[in-house]
């Protein structure tokens, strides 16, 4: 036993032992319940098979259900967060606009999202907005055309199976609309944190409202809110599970599918939870590493 270990043990109190004992008992009880009462057979061996499988035809390993879902989740989160930031910047500026109507509209949107359950919001966005948009732009048949064509490598790289493109785009739009409200509030806070003198100096130079925002206020505001924006990105990844409800084939949807075919309820959900956790937790560590105070003269 090394020195550090001994020090750690010395700092432990009898209370800590009690807490650990209670936790062990609780999970042990759950374990026994699952195994005995439900007659559940643990089949962890299934999980790797549903992550990757060997494709005989192409003679290489390919993603299976879970990893397919994971890749879709990652794609959707990246596109949705880019769109959410663009919408959020517009919304944030609208929240501090001079014009009362614009301010009221932005406020209404925000309150709508704050006071309606996310699931309901998602369905409303899906049926009222993204479905309409996809129908109006005829995206469905356009994507089918690309799926059939030979040289669709680039499209497949960015969007996966092009036959699913409409559903992926729906997911991106719905998720981006949903998150834009929160991004908007972060951007607004950033804009409001910029001292009045910056606005006045920009205006004294004769800048238009647009130039003032574009070249003076937003660059400073966005830099200030980079940390909360990064955290919002992690929230977005977690929130993305909700779009499984509109049949976007991302990780959560694929897990439901896996559970219904294999009945490996506990293994599948634990594996999925672990994947979300690893992604979100490593991003969170990465962001706090990037945010750590640095010695620097410039800026």
């Amino acid at each position: 036993m090394n020195h550090g270990m001994r020090r750690l043990l010395k700092r432990l109190h009898w209370m800590d032992g009690l807490i650990v004992a209670v936790l062990v008992l609780f999970f042990g009880y759950v374990w026994v319940q699952i195994g005995d009462q439900l007659n559940y057979k643990w089949r962890w061996g299934l999980i790797p098979d549903y992550m990757f499988r060997y494709d005989e035809e192409r003679e290489r390993w390919v993603a299976n259900l879970l990893v397919q879902g994971l890749i879709t989740t990652i794609r959707i989160c990246i596109y949705a967060s880019i769109l959410a930031v663009l919408l959020g910047i517009i919304l944030g500026m609208a929240r501090v606009a001079k014009n009362l109507t614009i301010r009221m509209l932005a406020r209404t949107y925000l309150e709508f999202l704050r006071n309606i359950p996310p699931v309901v919001v998602i369905f409303i966005f899906f049926f009222f907005l993204s479905e309409q948009l996809i129908a109006a732009l005829n995206i469905e048949s356009w994507a089918r055309g690309i799926a059939r064509s030979e040289n669709n490598g680039v499209w497949e790289f960015f969007f996966g199976d092009m036959r699913r493109f409409p559903s992926v785009i729906s997911g991106v739009i719905v998720l981006a609309l949903f998150e834009s409200a929160f991004v908007g509030e972060i951007v607004r806070a950033g804009i409001e944190a910029i001292p009045r003198g910056q606005h006045e100096a920009a205006r004294s130079l004769g800048m238009s409202w647009y130039a003032e925002m574009r070249y003076i206020i937003l660059p400073q505001a966005l830099k200030k809110v980079l940390p909360p924006l990064a955290n919002q990105f992690i929230s977005l990844i977690k929130d993305s599970a909700i779009i499984s409800l509109i049949s976007v084939q991302e990780l959560t949807y694929k897990t439901v599918e896996l559970v219904s075919t294999t009945r490996a309820i506990f293994e599948a959900w634990i594996a999925t939870a672990a994947m979300y956790f690893v992604i979100c937790f490593s991003l969170s560590m990465l962001f706090s590493y990037l945010e750590r105070p640095r010695k620097s003269g410039a800026r």
Binding site: P195, G197, Q198, E200, A201, A202, R203, S204, L205, G206, M207, S208, A211, Y215, I216, P219, Q220, K223, G297, A298, R299
Partner: protein, 248 residues
């Protein structure tokens, strides 16, 4: 002849902040090339008055003409006036995310829409004019207060304005830096710029001012050339104020 043309005309201007009257019936005419120095106790409305000239504050009633353009709600007029009027603030208000050079070029590029090469050439010319050509690539936070204020002056000059407004440009500075800023302002005055300066630097005022203005309680209570203003001011509040200031 152009020397006597009015370039700023303030006619019976009132300014209210809610119920509080910050300016009452202020009239002032500034001719092209003239230097006006405004002084007065804190809260007397000096800042409010010059901020009305480039419409950082909106006057409540009366009329204000700058370079022949009347300041009304019309956005186009406001921007046209602001392009002709430079403003230097007590707190410098440099753009911290831009280098000194970028601070100087952003206005000409985004407002005057001149080419990048011209904007940079212009910026270097005015940095030379304020004696800090070597600081072009630094960020504002890396400069001393006096240097920052000179950059702020150069930033305004890069728009090639016809009028410069100064709101207590040396009050936030350490004493040893005041003169480097005042020297730049004196050189600017000698180049023929029309200037309105709010300042309590009476040595500077005596040297450059054509008109001295004393404000009290939102009114202009004394207006005279420096020779008269400093020796025999008519208003008793003004006399008291001058005694206090000149004692130090």
């Amino acid at each position: 002849m152009p020397e006597t043309q009015p370039i700023i005309e303030i006619r019976n201007v009132d300014k209210f902040f809610g119920d509080f009257q910050a300016l009452s019936d202020v009239s002032l005419t500034v001719n092209s090339g003239e230097k006006v120095v405004i002084c007065g106790p804190s809260g007397s409305g000096k800042s409010t008055l010059i901020r009305c000239v480039n419409r950082l504050e909106e006057h409540t009633s009366g009329q204000l003409f700058v370079d022949g353009i009347e300041l009304t709600g019309e956005t186009r007029n406001i921007r046209a006036v602001r392009m002709e009027v430079g403003m230097v603030f007590q707190q410098f208000n440099l753009f911290p995310h831009l280098t000194v050079l970028e601070n100087l070029t952003v206005g000409p590029l985004r407002v005057r829409k001149i080419s990048k090469a011209d904007a940079i050439a212009r910026a270097r010319k005015y940095l030379e004019r304020v004696h800090i050509p070597e600081q072009a690539d630094k960020y504002p936070a890396q400069l001393s207060g006096g240097q920052q204020q000179r950059v702020a002056i150069a930033r305004s000059l890069c728009m090639e304005p016809r009028i410069m407004l100064f709101d207590e440009p040396t009050s936030a500075l350490d004493p040893e830096m005041i003169n480097e800023v005042l020297d730049v302002m004196i050189e600017l005055a000698e180049s023929g710029m029309t200037m309105i300066c709010v300042t309590h630097e009476m040595g500077f005022a005596n040297r450059v001012a054509d008109q001295m203005v004393f404000m009290d309680g939102g009114k202009i209570v004394e207006i005279a050339p420096p020779s008269v203003f400093f020796t025999k001011p008519k208003n008793p509040r003004c006399r008291e104020f001058l005694d206090q200031i000149l004692e130090h």
